[in-house]
Symmetry: C2
Subunit: 392 residues, 2 copies
Amino acid sequence: MHVFVFKQAPVHKRLRLCPCRNPALPPSLAPKRMILLLESPQYLLPALQNLKYDSIVRYSTIKMVKSKSWTMVKHFEGLPKLEDFKLEEKELPPLKDGELLLESVFLSVDPYMRPYSKRMMKPGDVMIGSQVARVVESKNPAFEVGTYHVTNVGWTTHFISDGAGFQSLPKEWPENLPRSLAVGAAGMPGYTAYFGLLEICNPKEGEVVLVNCAAGAVGSLVGQIAKIKGCKVVGSAGSDDKVTYLKEIGFDEAFNYKTVNSLEEALKNASPEGYDCYFENVGGNYADVALQQMKQFGRISVCGAISLYNDSVPATGPYIQTYMLFKQLRMEGFLVTRWMQRYPEAQKHLLKWIAEGKLKYHEHVTNGFENMPAGFIGMLTGENIGKAVIKV
Amino acid sequence: MHVFVFKQAPVHKRLRLCPCRNPALPPSLAPKRMILLLESPQYLLPALQNLKYDSIVRYSTIKMVKSKSWTMVKHFEGLPKLEDFKLEEKELPPLKDGELLLESVFLSVDPYMRPYSKRMMKPGDVMIGSQVARVVESKNPAFEVGTYHVTNVGWTTHFISDGAGFQSLPKEWPENLPRSLAVGAAGMPGYTAYFGLLEICNPKEGEVVLVNCAAGAVGSLVGQIAKIKGCKVVGSAGSDDKVTYLKEIGFDEAFNYKTVNSLEEALKNASPEGYDCYFENVGGNYADVALQQMKQFGRISVCGAISLYNDSVPATGPYIQTYMLFKQLRMEGFLVTRWMQRYPEAQKHLLKWIAEGKLKYHEHVTNGFENMPAGFIGMLTGENIGKAVIKV
């Protein structure tokens, strides 16, 4: 194999090609082909058109782009701990035709990562998750440098992709809104609230909607969307600050489930007539109590069960079939991905409501990729109001 | 008040009116009016048209119609016992204008009576339930003597009604079918199977449907309707005879849940790929095991929870929210009455399928109203194949 490295780009008036074997060259580029490594190929291509190289790749990509990732050392037991995570670094190979290099700008930490780590990951894998990422180099005409996309490549600072499965941020992203909303109120948690409430609970004007984890990324939106639809909204959360926040954003009733004497009483006081809709983020004992206060034909949207995610031994409670039966309740679990084709519709509504001031959002930002495990653990223990994000 | 009793009907050629005060005359007929009591007014009315009585009522109704009812002495604890029931007798008053006298021909015993006794009844009340009843006397032109109706007046041999809420049997009731089907395969259990399966599970051709209590009044129909819709059907029941019956009526797989080594294994063997639809009659531990074998987007129709009805202390099991969530399951409890407006549609289909031989029915008939409590207890302990009915 012959590799030519041109070291002084973009000074194409002083072209100087030096044959070498670059020890950093990754195996994927090792066929016996003529490859020209350049620091800035876009400047030099016109000048080099008459040379017959098989590939012209960016020198700096090979030499300089390092990607950091957080891997899971071993499966979590109970609440994840800092030592369950390991920061790893690797160099990324140069881009091939059709590929992009992206850098993560905001990374999302979400409750689903806890149960999914068990279902989808093995020790040593990069933690699952999504991010808002910016294209920093492109060999794919469909994706311009500088554009932003929501991607789903896990806890990683830099990565190469062909762009498949990207949810691109609208080019007309409102200037006054942070792009982190694309993994927040106008992204997955927003879609979750939008579809999980509207499609599964289908709340009617005047009905009573109960939301728990109500100050969380999803719950806070569910309550506000229910208000937009003309419902009475009751929310519970785990601190007085959160309760204050819920009242600020328009919940009719809110209480701190950790300090009330009895959850049953608190729910009864908040809505003596009972509940038509119940947006479930908690599960377990909370659900037992809430189920008893559903009205006939009540609808329960099971979005999460955070009280159960860290159990090593499954928790138990009374069987629910008799409640389901005599109150004719409907309970449905969902993963938001089932509505993936309709994300743009939801994003349009969510951004519109945000712009109109009908949907307020709050972000709990952890600065620095190195703090991502701590941000994740904090989110699981409920330290956040609104959406927990990591700013790289 | 003057009351005239004509004693020798229908011999209207020898009319003989004798004024009297009848001590059996109930207070509702005590206004100071002229009332003619006759044994068979329909024969005599033409002859008496010129007499100005305020009311002409049937003498035999007052004197002779005794109604027997089974009352609940005290709320059941665990499985109902014979001494929890008491047979009571009373005389019925004469009919007023607009009323009918009916006699029960077939009475239904159903699982729902056990939990509903707790919810709707107090000690001393007549046991709730429905029957096929025949009009034996009518002062309501909308209901002819000799017509049959499904009524909902409890465990009673005779009763007076204005006909409100009756579900009348079609006049063209097929000659070769017993009218008991109107409280069975072409009645409430039939509607329950029809709507509970089709509306809630909405099974598609080729899907796998699980039914428990499969040899019961509802389960046996659910399985057959699922077959009509092109599904693979798996049923479980509590005796080898029932399993044999299930195979006779076309279930693809059937097993005796009491004798299999492991319910989990039995369900896996019957459908290694899992289940799309689950028609739930049992609840409790059975549901725990079955839930784990649902496929993504599985639907669970909660029709009953017979394993839980007799519990004095609510039984417990693992929380189900995580299963509901990650498999995106939908579970809905229902009472068939929500589809009351559509009963005629269901009955038409059910009778058609029965006539075509696509829907087989089996009745477990207990003879004699005096044996009704025993028939009820037997049904709760699973002695019946198909529908348990009492023939008066």
